[in-house]
């Protein structure tokens, strides 16, 4: 029984990792970022390439992936998203296009495969990230078999949630971001550089997705199209949890994780997915703004 609970927490922590970045981007800036899954994918590939070409281990890939995907996010915001604020459908289309571009860029190795150059770690095939021996074990606790790697993912998630909360609630950047979310024009009038704030927020959200990619690469698949399922999961969590609410994202992710674990143990994982989707529908039927909606003006 306890083991089902721990499996649920682990599945939930993966949901949180992927959804946290989107919660910032969608929640605070109202940008539907269909390329969020590809940020996860880029983080995973950063880990693959770093391990192959730089020879470092998984732990150091985390900050590197954060920086790489942060930069990609920043550039995306400056070049693409900035021109589309307020135009929801256009951002959806534009970011979807960006997602396709990023997938194919990895597949054709940034165009190098046209010249017969093959970079180990890129390409259309599956890649893998070696996991340090330290994390490959498992131990017994309370009758449950706990994998050290999943525990590690859980702790990283906790740390990231704590940092994000601190960033939003206790730093001046966070206050500025919240101000821009509430009323962009007024915030700009009061001297806040709303464009810079948005760019940094997008970069931070993408960076979080990159870290998610590194962790996920340790025990799931790395291939150019790995990102699409994650963006779907992320949106389910963010929308059902309440747009703009970190608490909502975390709580909903935990609920989803537990539901998946319980239903999958009793039946199988396909029914677990069905159960989550039914839960989302029920949540939105009875609380259309999500479970923990932030009161907007």
């Amino acid at each position: 029984m306890f083991e089902i609970f721990t499996i649920g927490i682990s599945i939930g922590s993966i949901f949180v990792l992927v959804a946290l970045g989107l919660s910032i981007i969608y929640g605070t800036m109202n940008v539907i970022n269909m390329a969020h899954g590809e940020m996860v994918m880029l983080g995973a590939y950063t880990a693959v390439l770093s391990t192959i070409h730089l020879g470092i281990n998984l732990f150091w890939c985390i900050p590197i992936a954060f920086i790489v995907t942060g930069i990609v996010g920043y550039v995306t915001e400056r070049l693409l998203i900035r021109r589309l604020y307020g135009r929801l459908l256009d951002t959806l289309l534009a970011t979807w296009g960006l997602a396709l571009l990023l997938q194919q860029a990895i597949r054709v190795e940034f165009g190098l495969s046209f010249f017969g150059i093959h970079v180990p770690g890129l390409g259309a095939g599956m890649q893998n990230v070696p996991v340090p021996e330290l994390l490959r074990r498992s131990f017994e606790m309370g009758g449950a078999n706990i994998s050290v790697y999943r525990l590690f993912v859980f702790f990283v998630t906790l740390v990231l949630v704590a940092i994000t909360w601190y960033l939003l609630k206790r730093t001046s950047f966070g206050t500025q971001l919240r101000a821009v979310t509430k009323n962009r024009q007024m915030a700009a009038c009061l001297g806040i550089d709303d464009k810079r704030v948005n760019a940094l927020a997008f970069a931070y959200g993408s960076g979080l997705a990159g870290i998610a990619g590194v962790l996920v690469a340790g025990f799931k698949i790395v291939s150019p199209d790995m990102g699409t399922p994650y963006v779907i999961d992320a949106f389910l969590v963010v929308v059902a949890g309440g747009v703009g609410s970190i608490v909502g994202t975390v709580a909903t992710a935990g609920i989803f994780g537990e539901i998946t674990a319980i239903v999958a143990t009793v039946a199988n994982d396909v029914y677990g997915r069905v159960a989550i989707l039914i839960t989302v529908i029920l949540i939105l039927l009875f609380r259309p703004n999500g479970l923990f909606s932030v009161k907007a003006r």
Partner: protein, 417 residues
């Protein structure tokens, strides 16, 4: 007004006439193909898309084998011209490209397909147009088309050795089957259960997850809780990586639980990281480490073409065998016309000494004999043989339905069930 209509009719007829002539012209020209000193074949493997990672190597091997034949003087004195198409891992496109190869390029046979869904999409084309598909991969059986030459193993050639080996040689008693949710793994599970009935071991469960599914925590937990000491895995594609990683991460060891896979090859082992596969077992007729002179030549030629790190696997070995078996069949029939080749195989089944050993056609069901082997994944990513049959065994595509050597269900005229 009348003049306008006449003009319009004149123009349309002229256009239609030209188009018809242009369309017929290749056909008129191609009537001369048969005697022009060329044999046209289709090469239909995905070069892009989800399964391209494996199919590209198969396409390359097909071209390599065809070049070998051409360099040695061709077939019936004619050069083989391959028409390469990319069906992009989409069965619908497989169907379209197959039709294009048969109707427009007038090929005498198509070498192609990897997934069963792609083969099932091409089957109606070759049956209706009386052409020939040479399908080089191992599959779930239960098919008996008279327009397909099956160059790969069927379940009885993978499990008739695998399951008794697990029960007798490894002393396992409780089998847990895992697979991807489609016809091949479910067929394998059914046959496994039938084989187990004759032993004193039992199957405890079979579980299936969809293609590409990455969350294996609950299934691995179920494996642990069931007390199974052997896992038979027919997990296909990307998810096998997540499966192996979860298995190892939850502390399960391949020494305590014998892990036998029916689909994993050198490619998947490399993709998942050797530390997650080392010590697991695979039942397939061919591994790159086989110590035969034909295999050495094959691996050298393959690596000369694709790089010294390129790995051969059962898929490309099947392609090589299939091309050379077809070559023999055409020589026996003295013609490359599809129906004559098929009739020739039934009358005078060709054989070839391939990298795995002797591979011979069964005249009744158009499948091939295979030498069953079991391999263990080594720490360098290669698979070494731990068990092998002294000679090849025949194919029984309807084994799960009760077909045996003295009770054939796939016969010369079709399936009789």
């Amino acid at each position: 007004m009348g003049t306008k209509r006449r003009d319009f009719l004149k123009k349309t007829l002229a256009l239609a006439g030209t188009a018809g002539l242009a369309g017929a012209a290749p056909g008129l020209m191609r009537a001369a193909y048969a005697s022009s000193g060329e044999i046209h074949v289709g090469v239909l493997f995905s070069l892009t898309g989800g399964t391209s990672i494996v199919e590209r190597s198969m396409s390359e091997t097909c071209l390599m084998a065809i070049e070998e034949i051409n360099a040695a003087g061709g077939l019936l004195g004619k050069q083989i011209i391959p028409h390469v198409e990319d069906p992009a891992s989409d069965p619908k496109v497989f169907n379209e490209k197959a039709r294009k190869l048969v109707l427009k390029d007038r090929v005498d046979c198509i070498f192609g397909c990897y997934t069963s869904s792609s083969r099932k999409a091409v089957l109606p084309v070759v049956e209706k147009r009386k052409n020939l598909l040479v399908y080089p991969i191992w599959y779930e059986g239960l098919e008996c088309s008279k327009n397909i030459l099956y160059g790969g193993a069927v379940p009885n050639q993978l499990l008739e050795n695998g399951i008794p080996w697990g029960v007798n040689k490894m002393g396992r008693k409780k089998i847990f089957m895992v697979g991807t949710d489609y016809v091949f793994p479910r067929g394998m599970a059914r046959i496994t259960k039938q084989i187990l009935e004759k032993t004193d071991a039992e199957w405890v469960a079979d579980e299936y997850l969809p293609f590409g599914h990455t969350e294996w925590a609950t299934i691995v937990k179920k494996i642990r809780d069931s007390g199974a000491d052997m896992v038979v895995s027919s997990v296909v594609g990307n998810s096998v990586i997540a499966f192996h990683r979860e298995f190892v991460n939850q502390g399960l060891s391949f020494d305590d639980i014998t892990f036998l896979s029916t689909v994993t090859t050198e490619i998947e082992v490399a993709a998942m990281g050797v530390e997650y596969a080392e010590g697991s077992y695979i039942t397939l007729p061919y591994f790159q480490t086989l110590d035969t002179p034909e295999n050495k030549r094959f691996v050298d030629a393959y690596q000369a073409r694709l790089g010294k790190d390129a790995m051969t696997h059962n898929g490309v070995e099947g392609v090589w065998n299939s091309v050379h078996l077809w070559e023999k069949a055409v020589q026996n029939a003295a013609s490359s016309a599809p129906l004559e080749v098929i009739a020739g195989v039934q009358l005078n089944p060709p054989s070839v000494v391939g990298p795995q050993g002797l591979v011979k056609f069964d005249p009744v069901n158009l499948h091939v004999t295979q030498t069953p082997r079991i391999g263990r994944v080594r720490s360098d990513g290669m698979i070494e043989v731990v068990d092998e049959y002294p000679q090849a065994i025949g194919p029984l595509p309807y084994y799960g339905e009760g077909e045996r050597y003295d009770n054939r269900m796939c016969t010369m005229s079709g399936a009789v069930i």
